[in-house]
């Protein structure tokens, strides 16, 4: 991230609660639980008042929700509705490239790439338009975040290196 001189690393759990509900729990470095449910985002940080806002105020979160729900639910039609989807690789190692269809959103989030092997996603990379990159290591990779990650090291990790 350009503003920071080193990458930000957080760990926790991302859970799909069914339907359009998603929970993001962060355990480290600070505990935080964010839930998206019924079009509302609730952010709870330890020792602070919860913050609530409408999902419509945060279109980036809507994208995330769309991609996750579609991906985890295996709903290819829904994925196609929000993104143009390109797939490369084979069954063993694949990468899905999602480009938001909405031009305005594409200006903030340019591209989401999901790497996986077999039926399991391993990595989710969100390329923001200003050059910042957010990488989520999922499932089996979640424990293998290096202590001092670099963009390159993570990319190799995602692609199964």
């Amino acid at each position: 991230m350009k503003m920071l001189d080193q990458p930000l690393v957080v760990s926790g759990e991302l859970a799909w609660l069914g339907g359009d509900r998603l929970e993001r729990r962060v355990d480290h470095p600070n505990r935080e639980v964010s839930t998206i449910a019924d079009g509302e985002v609730v952010q709870q940080r330890e020792g602070r008042e919860p913050r609530r806002f409408s999902l419509k105020r945060a279109p980036q979160l809507q994208i995330l929700l769309d991609s996750f729900v579609a991906l985890l639910g295996g709903d290819a039609t829904r994925l196609e509705q929000s993104f143009t989807v390109h797939q490369r690789g084979d069954d063993k190692r694949w990468t899905l490239a999602l480009v938001p269809r909405d031009a305005k959103l594409a200006r903030t989030v340019g591209l989401i790439e999901i790497d996986g092997s077999g039926s399991e996603p391993r990595c989710m990379r969100m390329q923001e338009a200003d050059g910042d990159l957010a990488i989520d290591l999922l499932g089996p990779l979640a424990g293998s975040m290096p202590a001092k990650p670099t963009r390159e090291a993570l990319m190799t990790l995602c692609q199964g290196g």
């Binding site: 503003m3 001189d5 930000l8 985002v41 419509k56 980036q60 979160l61 923001e128 910042d132």
Partner: protein, 771 residues
């Protein structure tokens, strides 16, 4: 002789043309309803008069755009807002898009003086460390891109705290960056510069919005819906005007047909229009000379009241004798006609005594008109009328009608019976006597009202009925008072006594508060050290927060913000509308949304020892209507006494005066009684209409009372009166069918009045001598 007639006609027409030109050039019509209100007597009434036009609530228009998908509607909303913000006619345009630009970049460093953060925290290492840690958490969340742009200049997010503080407390849902209603309409709030109850100025403002919308490239397929007090005044005005014109056209045709039937002469008909035309033009010309602006209502009412003057030429036409020229006929008629004119003028003088500017204008207009109509009927019209005419006294039906009228039994107990019935009806009528709610006279379609309630609810727009008024010696006093009130108000909101209260200090803290915040701002070195301490072990790039440090330094040296300095930004204009000097003190106006418990608010006001008042605009307006009516009633009483004296003097007999005044008075009260029995609540418009009917009734009674001993003359009197009654019934009877209460009030009252006056003046007239 013939040449003389033509010359006179040409001169008369030329005079009218000159008057017409003067009027057309100098007439300035005002539509501000306030000039039809009496001088305010109490502080609340004074405030109401200002608020009615200038108050922030009354100048607010609610706008909704519907009919397309969210993204397209949001785009339209943004484009419309941009175009209206450039327009002089609107002081504020809100559509929910929070834009740091609404706070002037020049004013951005003021955020440290405006936001309450420094009241509880100092910009020290501990606080900054906590904030920076939160920003890191924000950056690691998927919502990071929302905040990234703000971070270097504003790591404590003061701008967002202010935005949260300033968004209407119950703000609508934001989609695609703009407000939306639950019914998928994009919503905007537009404040006009024009006062809310000036229908013409509001019509221009509304037209401006509609034009701006129609000029947007992608507007097709989307619909624009407006609401708000200004819009309502325009709708009510257009509705009333539309119906009045439509009815007016029909009754004019009927009136012309009636006169043609009665006199069978196009020439006479055209000529008899001359005194009325002269009356109207002369009336307006005098108004133009005496008053800087003429009120639209004065003209509308004035033309109605001038209806009395139509009687003068009708009397002359009906009283023509075979073989006698018009000048001679008029001479015989003149003493009575003069009495009629004088008494009508006395009745209308009551309006002048009311002291209300609009009614004074009405009096000047009608009295001038009546005099001009009367004297031109006497001294000009007869020279133009044809020499030979058909004497109406020779008409068969008239002879029979007169015989019938003369044969009517006229027992002395009839007036007594009518008086008792009138009294009973007045005593036993159930509904409230007076109608004080002016809005009830121009009601709006329910779907408009429902739409307004829906949009107001969705937008959290302020209630138009209540205002909290804060009073102090100066601007700073008002702001300090407003700050002291905040905890009590928050408690009321928490108790759901009211949904939201917009206090001026929410936008602009007092200078004392700003100064104490300013004094807490650290100097450059201290802040930089604190920032370095706070950021230890955090991955922020060195120097990232330089813009923040610069802004804090700027804020340390800023002159404190007051409403004058603030008013350069759109938000500041909102503050200016909430703060105003008022005589030797200042007032703060807090708008209320969703008032659920008026008593709780009243109690808050009482505990403040007169520093805070809850202004109920509706109740205050009604109290003014009551004052207004009292003045008119007093003036009427005086006019009645004057009338009794004048008639008695003119007829030189108390007994004869009694024969004229008794039927008129009785008929007037009978109209009142019948309307009361029918459940009609009496408004100002009923009163004006009663006066008009009484003026007409006085004429009938005067002419019926006259005993010339000449059977033909009696027949002519009946003819003239029947023509007058029919024409009045035609014009006002049509109005009585109107669906708009104010027109119906006038129409019904005058029609009933004319009918009752006619019957009673026949029944109570002395017996004609049998020849």
């Amino acid at each position: 002789m013939r040449i003389g007639r033509w010359l006179l006609l040409v001169l008369w027409l030329a005079l009218l043309a000159v008057l017409g030109i003067v009027v057309a050039q100098r007439l300035r019509v005002s539509t501000d309803l306030r000039s039809f209100m009496p001088e305010p007597a109490t502080p609340d009434q004074r405030l109401l008069m200002e608020q009615v036009g200038e108050g922030p609530g009354s100048r607010l228009l609610l706008v909704a755009i519907a009919g397309k998908d969210d993204a397209q509607l949001a785009e339209l909303s943004q484009q419309l807002a941009t175009s209206l913000r450039r327009d002089e006619r609107y002081t504020q345009v809100l559509n929910g898009s929070f834009d740091v630009a609404t706070l002037d970049p020049q004013l951005l460093p003021y955020r440290y003086l405006l936001s309450p953060t420094l009241d509880t925290h100092a910009l020290d290492a501990t606080f900054l460390r906590d904030e920076l840690q939160q920003r890191l958490d924000d950056l690691s969340s998927p919502a990071a891109s929302l905040l990234k742009g703000l971070l270097p200049r504003d790591p404590t997010l003061e701008v967002l705290k202010l935005a949260e503080r300033w968004t209407p407390p119950k703000s609508p849902e934001v989609r695609e960056g703009v407000w939306f209603s639950p019914q998928d309409e994009a919503l905007l709030l537009v404040q006009t510069r024009a006062p809310g109850f000036d229908p013409d100025a509001q019509a221009t403002a509304i037209d401006g919005i509609q034009r701006a919308f129609a000029a947007l490239p992608a507007h097709q397929g989307a619909s624009l819906v407006l609401s708000g007090p200004g819009y309502f005044s325009v709708v009510a005005n257009a509705q009333t005007r539309g119906q009045a014109e439509w009815i007016g056209r029909i009754s004019t045709i009927g009136f012309i047909a009636l006169l043609l039937l009665a006199y069978r002469s196009v020439g006479s008909l055209l000529l008899s229009a001359l005194p009325i035309a002269s009356a109207a033009l002369a009336g307006i010309a005098v108004l133009v000379l005496v008053f800087p602006q003429v009120h639209g209502i004065t003209l509308a009412f004035g033309f109605t009241l001038l209806g009395v003057a139509q009687e003068y030429p009708i009397r002359v036409l009906s009283h023509r004798r075979a073989g006698e020229n018009a000048v001679q006929s008029v001479r015989a008629l003149w003493p009575l006609l003069l009495t009629a004119i004088a008494s009508a003028c006395i009745a209308y003088l009551a309006f002048y005594a009311s002291g209300v500017n609009g009614l004074k204008q009405l009096a000047v207009f009608t009295i001038t008109g009546l005099l001009v109509a009367g004297f031109s009927t006497r001294y000009l019209l007869p020279w133009l009328l044809p020499e030979r005419v058909h004497d109406v006294a020779r008409m068969r039906w008239l002879q029979k009608a007169r015989a019938l009228v003369d044969a009517l039994p006229r027992p002395r107990w009839i007036p007594l019976l009518v008086a008792i019935a009138t009294l009973l009806m007045l005593v036993f009528a159930r509904s409230p006597f007076w109608q004080n709610d002016l809005a009830a006279l121009t009601p709006l379609p329910t779907d408009l009202l429902q739409r307004d309630a829906r949009l107001r609810e969705a937008l959290g727009a302020p209630d138009v009925r209540y205002l909290l008024v804060l009073q102090a010696a100066d601007e700073q006093g008002v702001l300090a008072l407003s700050e002291r009130l905040e905890p009590a108000i928050d408690a009321l909101v928490a108790r759901h006594a009211v949904d939201a209260v917009e206090l001026p200090s929410r936008y602009l803290p007092s200078e004392a508060v700003q100064r104490s915040r300013q004094q807490k701002l650290p100097d450059r070195d201290t802040l930089q050290r604190a920032l370095a301490d706070a950021g230890q072990g955090m991955p922020f790039q060195p120097g990232l927060f330089a813009p923040f440090v610069d802004d804090v330094q700027k804020a340390r040296e800023l002159p404190l913000l007051n409403s004058a300095r603030f008013s350069t930004s759109p938000l500041g204009q909102r503050v200016s509308a909430m703060l105003a000097p008022h005589g030797d003190h200042w007032l703060g106006l807090a708008t209320l949304s969703g008032v659920h418990d008026v008593d709780a608010l009243q109690q808050l006001a009482q505990e403040s020892h007169a520093a805070v008042r809850l202004l109920d605009l509706k109740a205050t307006a009604e109290s003014m209507v009551v004052d207004y009516r009292t003045r008119i009633l007093h003036a009427l009483l005086a006019a009645t006494l004057l009338l009794v004296v004048a008639i008695t003097a003119a007829l030189r007999s108390v007994r004869r005066a009694w024969h004229v005044l008794a039927p008129m008075t009785l008929a007037t009260f009978l109209v009142l009684a019948v309307e009361r029995a029918a459940g009609v609540e009496i408004s100002l418009f009923h009163l004006v209409a009663l006066i008009l009917a009484a003026g007409l009734g006085l004429h009938y009674a005067l002419f019926f009372e006259r005993d010339t001993g000449d059977i033909d003359e009696q027949r002519r009197t009946l003819h003239a009166t029947v023509v007058c009654v029919l024409s009045a019934l035609l014009v006002f009877g049509m109005l009585a069918w109107s669906s708009i209460p104010v027109l119906r009030a006038i129409g019904l009252t005058v029609s009933l009045g004319v009918a009752f006056h006619f019957c009673l003046s026949i029944l109570m007239a002395p017996h004609a001598r049998q020849d």
